[in-house]
Every structure is written in C-alpha cells, then in structure tokens.
C-alpha cells in the first residue's frame, strides 16, 4: 500500500504510523457526561467501505495526514494535510 504524503509525495506504507479514526471528536471538558467521554475514547463506527483516518509520516516529515481509504479494497481516495502546518501548506508557504 502506498500513501501520498502531501509534503513528501508518494511513499511506502511502512514509513507511516497509523493513528486511527479521524472522526473521533473529544467532547468539551464542560460536558460532564461520562457516556460522551467514554464514547469518544472507545466507540467507533468501524465501517467496511470508506474510512477517514489519521496517519503520521513517522519515517519522513513526521507530519500528520488525513487519509480517506476504502478498507475493503485498499484503494486510497485522498491524503490531506492536517494539523498546524496544514493551513500554511494550503496557502503555499510550507515546505
């Protein structure tokens, strides 16, 4: 499996570290519901088709990227930058 790092280009999967479901959203700390926080930590949709997930280019630029991938066919639909450098990259200033 190959992933396109938005910063470094097409690289082998072995350069990346998987960081899981990109849609886990931490509830606000003002939200005192244990269910909401437990659901954030533990519950996942685990779809069999397209999955949005975070990978880190550990053996490359060490940036996080958001990958949309079909988990049944291994087809990679998109690899987008996320995190502090993402906006700068979109404005064309990051390297």
């Amino acid at each position: 499996m190959l992933l396109t790092c938005p910063y470094c280009g097409l690289r082998d999967q072995s350069e990346f570290t998987y960081r899981g479901d990109a849609n886990a959203r931490r509830p606000s700390f003002a939200d005192e519901s244990i269910e909401a926080h437990a659901a954030y930590v533990f519950d996942r949709e685990n779809p069999s088709g397209l999955h949005e997930e975070i990978w880190n280019h550990t053996s490359g630029c060490r940036n996080h990227i958001k990958v949309v991938r079909n988990v049944t066919t291994h087809e990679v639909v998109s690899c987008e930058p996320v995190g502090p450098f993402a906006k700068a990259l979109k404005r064309g200033r990051a390297t």
């Binding site: 999967q13 899981g20 685990n46 069999s48 999955h51 997930e53 991938r69 049944t72 066919t73």
Partner: protein, 423 residues
C-alpha cells in the same frame, strides 16, 4: 447419524466406504426458533452445541452467510494456550483449556488437540523478570508454567540458534507445558456435527440482511437464502460474527461499538521433517510458529496496523515476520513459503473479548476476540450459551461486558490503551 469409532472405520472399510453419511443435515429454516445464532464459525457453533448439551435448548438455528467454518476458525494458526496475566482472562482461558482436553471425546470427533507446549522466548534479563512475574501470575491462577534457562530451551528445541552470536541471543523462556495446538477445521466440523445431532438446525448460505424488531426488542432476523428473503423469528438472537461484528450490528441499529476490524496474516511453509517440537514465540519482536502434523511451519506475527475488511494484507508485515523467523532459525531461510492469507480480526479497545447480554433487548453479543479467538472457542461457546440461557453472564464472563468501558475498568493485558491495532 452414526457414531464415529474404530469399529465404524472397520465396518465401512469392509463395505467399500459406501455407507458414510454426511456429518450434518441440510435443513430448511423453520419460521420460529427459541434461539437464533448469527455466525457459523467456531464460536457460533460451540454456542449452539452447549445450548443444546448443557442447557437443553435444542430448538436453535445457526445462520451462516457462507459455508460452516469459512471464516477465522478455518484461517488461524491453531494455537491453544492460557498464559495470561490478568485474573478474568486467566480464569476464562483456563476454562477453555479444561474443555479442550476433553473435547474430542465430548464431540465424538477428533479435534487433534496436541498439548505440545507453548514456549515464549526471552532475549534480555528484563524480559526474564517479566516472564517470571507472568509465570507466577499463571501459577497463582492454577495454570502450570515453567521458567527455562538457555540450556533447557536448547534441549527442548534443538533446531534453534541459542548461541551467543545469534542476532538476538536467547536468555531463556516461559513455557506453558499444557498448551499446544488443535486442528482448526475439525473444531468447527466437530461442533457442527455435535450440535446437529442434538437437533440444532445449521443454515448455511443464509445471510442475515436485517433484524426483526418490536419496539426496541430484537425478535428475529431477516435472511436472504438462494436469492429469496424470508423472516426467522427467535425468542433470543445471539451474534457471534467476529470481524463482521460492526457490519451486522449496524443492521440492528447499533452504529458504534468499542471494536475496530483489522487484518491478521498467517503463513505456511512447505512440509519438512519434524524440527519444531513446541509452539514457539520470538521475544524480540512478535512471531509465533509451530509445525503442523503435515510438516509445514505455520506462523504469523502482528496484525497489519490499520483498519481493514480485506482478507489480505500488505508486505511490510511479511518482511517483519520472515526476518524474525530467520533470526530465530537461520536454517529456515531456505524454506519456501507455500501460502499466506489474512483474516479479519474484531479488535476490541482493550484487547479482551465481549460476551454479554444486549446491547438491545432480546439480543446477545459475542465479539472482540482480537487475534486470540481460536483458543477461546470452547469456553466462548460455553459462556455465551450460559449467558443466553440464563439472561445473565456466567461468573467466568461477567467481566467481559460492554459496560466495562464506561465504568473505567477495561481488561487491558498489554496496557496499550484504547488503540485496538496495538493489542
């Protein structure tokens, strides 16, 4: 349905083996069952068997999308062990060992259980300390364990490189002498035949496409069979579908569970003469290898570290697994690989299973087996049958609920946290 025995083999040999009957019936589905189990793998079939055998509930159907045993029970590395550290896991897997020991007689089917020992190699003094601790934990739970030094490892495993010049020199090992292997397909077939003889209907090529609901309560399943849809009503509905848990539960309206599906790969080499007496695991990485009765080396390592429903994996895992095998046994480098495959693991958020009532009324869930489901097959079915029959868990599976995640008491053997791909 005939009983298997040495006499039956002789009798059939003298009559040209023309009178063997199929091991189980191919029944038509009834409109109503007391219990419907979704999933005709090891756990679903053993659940149906123990429902009928232990609890006297024989009006049971097992609904299977493909053929019986077509999933993970037919594609694992056949290791049976109970060398755990945390008490809920130790007690549960030791129950499984107890059932394994008598299984061939219980089922009248040779599951080829072979307690040849599971040897976990240690390569550092720190690892030896950790294994001493694990061995003591096992003994406290009544599980036999032995801590071995390098000389004892060499004696038990003569083919291994135990020299000081090995890539990762071997310090010693932890041995569970009562652990070993079993013939995976035979386990599925034996439970299927046993359940069938007790009156359970095994419905193959029957896919669940929906659940029947009255309010919130599950009252049966909608199935597709030979292109036609029909309804099967059930007093109780059990789900034991391993890697497909999230997909099937979504049909019931349960959209999120503490489970992610990943792929685990396994490999078999060409057949060679006996060289590897025990199941052996490499301690400086993650690799487990044993030799099948046909002579092939059966081995595997880590899961592919990403969500997957593909029954095939990627090459980085191959490279890691092969390099570790050769680091341990340099002479295996000349063997040819016969085949490899992948199975879908239902990785739970703490690495421990779920055998519970719910999450909806009328429904029972058996899932989260990670890559250790095969050895659990007897105890999983035994506990799940108890849970279904009595509407509450047995003491052995009372810790394996969904509530543990909300209550902050996950059973995390590795201490890896809610990262299912690291368990």
């Amino acid at each position: 349905m005939s009983r298997y025995s040495a006499l039956a083999i002789l009798r059939n040999a003298f009559t040209g083996n023309r009178h063997w009957t199929p091991a189980w019936r191919k029944p038509q589905p009834k409109a109503q069952y007391d219990v419907v189990i979704i999933g005709g793998g090891g756990h679903g079939l053993s659940t149906a068997f123990y429902l009928a055998r232990v609890h006297g509930i024989a009006n049971v159907a097992v609904v299977e999308k493909g053929y019986l045993g077509s999933g993970n029970v037919g594609r694992n590395t056949t290791i049976v062990r109970s060398n755990y550290r945390l008490p809920p896991n130790s007690a549960f897997y030791e129950k499984s060992m107890e059932l394994w020991r008598g299984l061939s007689h219980e089922l009248n089917y040779n599951v080829m259980f072979s307690p040849r020992g599971v040897m976990n190699l240690a390569h550092t003094p720190g690892q030896m300390d950790a294994y001493a601790e694990r061995g003591n934990q096992m003994r406290l739970m009544g599980v036999r364990s032995e801590l071995l030094d390098r000389g004892q490892v060499a004696k038990l495993n003569p083919g291994m490189d135990v020299s000081g010049s090995a890539r990762f020199p071997i310090e010693g090992a932890l041995l569970q002498p009562d652990a070993g292997n079993a013939r995976h397909d035979a386990v599925a077939w034996g439970y299927a035949r046993g359940a069938d003889q007790l009156g359970v209907d095994l419905l193959e090529n029957t896919e669940v496409v929906g659940f029947l609901k009255e309010g919130d309560t599950i009252v049966g399943v909608e199935v597709e069979r030979a292109g036609e849809r029909s309804e099967i009503r059930a007093g109780k509905t059990g789900v034991a579908v391993a890697g497909s848990t999230s997909r099937v539960m979504k049909l019931a309206g349960v959209d999120r569970l503490p489970i992610e599906s990943t792929v685990l790969q396994a490999f078999v080499s060409e057949s060679i003469k006996p060289i590897l007496p025990s199941v052996t695991t490499f301690g400086a990485g993650h690799l487990y290898v044993s030799q099948s009765d046909k002579g092939g080396l059966v081995f595997g390592g880590n899961i592919d570290y990403y969500n997957s429903y593909a029954q095939r994996g990627n090459l980085p895992v191959w490279e890691e697994v092969m390099s570790e095998l050769v680091a341990m046994f340099p002479n295996f480098a000349r063997l040819r690989l016969l085949r490899s495959w992948g199975g879908i693991m239902d990785m739970s958020m703490d690495g421990s299973p779920i055998i519970t009532t719910g999450p909806l009324p009328g429904m029972y869930l058996n899932a989260g087996w990670c890559y250790g489901g095969f050895k659990a097959t007897p105890a999983s079915g035994w506990c799940f049958a108890h849970t279904i029959a009595n509407d509450k868990p047995h003491a052995l599976n009372s810790a394996f609920t969904l509530e543990r995640f909300k209550q902050g008491r996950p059973i995390d053997e590795l201490g890896a946290g809610p990262t299912p791909w690291y368990h």
